[in-house]
């Protein structure tokens, strides 16, 4: 049986970016990179009011359209549920806004594909690439969460807010069952820690958003930091869920 990889692309009003992202992914010919594998791209259209779904379908992706906006956590979890139901062995998450440089997809998937780890995180703060590293205030927030998560878990994470991640079947099962909804990226690391997942960071570069606005821009950085800190601390109190 061929190993199956699912590329999950959560998208909310990304009609301007989504086609280019899918075309970039398709042009990588990932199935060849990993030998004889089956690669599918799933766009989770998170209740967009524009033509995101149509553009994604036209570009050749599978599209799940949610009836209303669930937020990034709910959208990504939909991808995990699809991966679990369709028997995918690996899943990789790429934002639909063009921020993630998909040229690093192979590097992100490789450690998970080879069975070295359960989950990889693309980090923009690891050498040698060091491209666009977000705005000054957001960098402060990211470094703060990196310290907090490193203190609370066994992992030394440099980019806890990165959504550029790959997962194996174990993580697909876990996150299909429960995926944090409030501030999913940093919280998911704490959740993974509860299940003793092996995590590795992979150096990547990220780009500035091609079009549109990032939802995080509207949060006051400090308020956001306080809320995420509470969410992470509360996550630490939870215990693993039974299947």
């Amino acid at each position: 049986m061929k190993p199956k990889i699912l590329v999950i692309v959560p998208a909310y009003n990304e009609a301007g970016n989504i086609s280019a992202t899918i075309q970039e992914i398709s042009s990588l010919h990932l199935s060849r990179c990993f030998g004889d594998t089956e690669v599918s791209v799933l766009v989770v259209n998170d209740g967009s009011s524009d033509a995101t779904a149509q553009h994604a379908r036209k570009a050749g992706a599978l599209v799940v359209s949610l009836p209303f906006n669930l937020g990034i956590g709910g959208a990504v979890q939909t991808g995990f549920k699809f991966a679990r139901e369709q028997g995918f062995h690996f899943a990789v998450q790429v934002d639909g806004d063009g921020q993630h440089d998909v040229a690093f997809l192979e590097a992100i998937i490789r450690p998970v594909f080879n069975g070295e780890v359960d989950m990889t995180i693309g980090s923009r703060f690891l050498p040698p690439h060091l491209g666009y590293q977000s705005s000054f205030f957001r960098r402060i927030g990211i470094h703060f969460f990196a310290r907090l998560i490193s203190f609370l878990t066994e992992y030394k994470i440099t980019d806890p807010t990165s959504g550029f991640r790959a997962y194996n079947k174990k993580m697909i099962e876990i996150f299909a069952r429960y995926y944090p909804q409030d501030f999913p990226e940093p919280e998911a690391i704490v959740v993974a820690g509860r299940y003793k997942a092996r995590i590795k960071e992979v150096p990547v570069t990220m780009r500035k958003r091609a079009q549109g606005n990032s939802s995080i821009r509207y949060f006051k950085t400090l308020y956001y930091m306080i809320k995420v800190t509470f969410a992470i601390l509360l996550d630490k109190l939870k215990s693993p869920r039974e299947a």
Partner: protein, 127 residues
């Protein structure tokens, strides 16, 4: 004193009958109405048998029965607020699960439809 009793009993009866009417018109389910029926029953009981209320207040160390009433009401509403937040969160996560299921089922239906079209076309070619 009699007037206060009458007003309280009337208010409790109004709440009680309003809740019954809401259940009858299917605007409220018994699960959520039970609390209000209990509250209106309790209010009517304490209005009629106010000595019980005075004794309870003095037993619990309240200097004035009115303080006891306000404290009890405040506690009940804090508890009710918390309970409502729990229900709200439950509904929210159920909504999310339903939305995800709808999205996934839609994709499954689309895939089945396109497979059927392909099968039909292949059938036509064969014949």
């Amino acid at each position: 004193m009699i007037n206060t009793k009458i007003v309280t009993v009337m208010l409790a009866c109004a709440v009680f009958f309003l809740v019954l009417d809401l259940i009858r018109r299917e605007k409220l389910t018994f699960k959520y109405a039970a609390f209000w029926i209990f509250v209106s029953g309790g209010a009517a009981f304490f209005a009629i048998f106010d000595r019980v209320l005075f004794r309870m207040a003095s037993f619990l160390g309240f200097q004035l029965p009115s303080n006891f009433i306000f404290f009890t009401l405040l506690s009940v509403f804090v508890f009710l607020g918390l309970l409502m937040t729990i229900f709200l969160c439950q509904q929210n996560s159920r909504n999310e699960m339903t939305a995800q299921k709808i999205g996934l089922l839609e994709l499954e239906i689309e895939q089945m439809k396109s497979r059927k079209v392909l099968d039909n076309e292949a059938g036509k070619d064969d014949s």
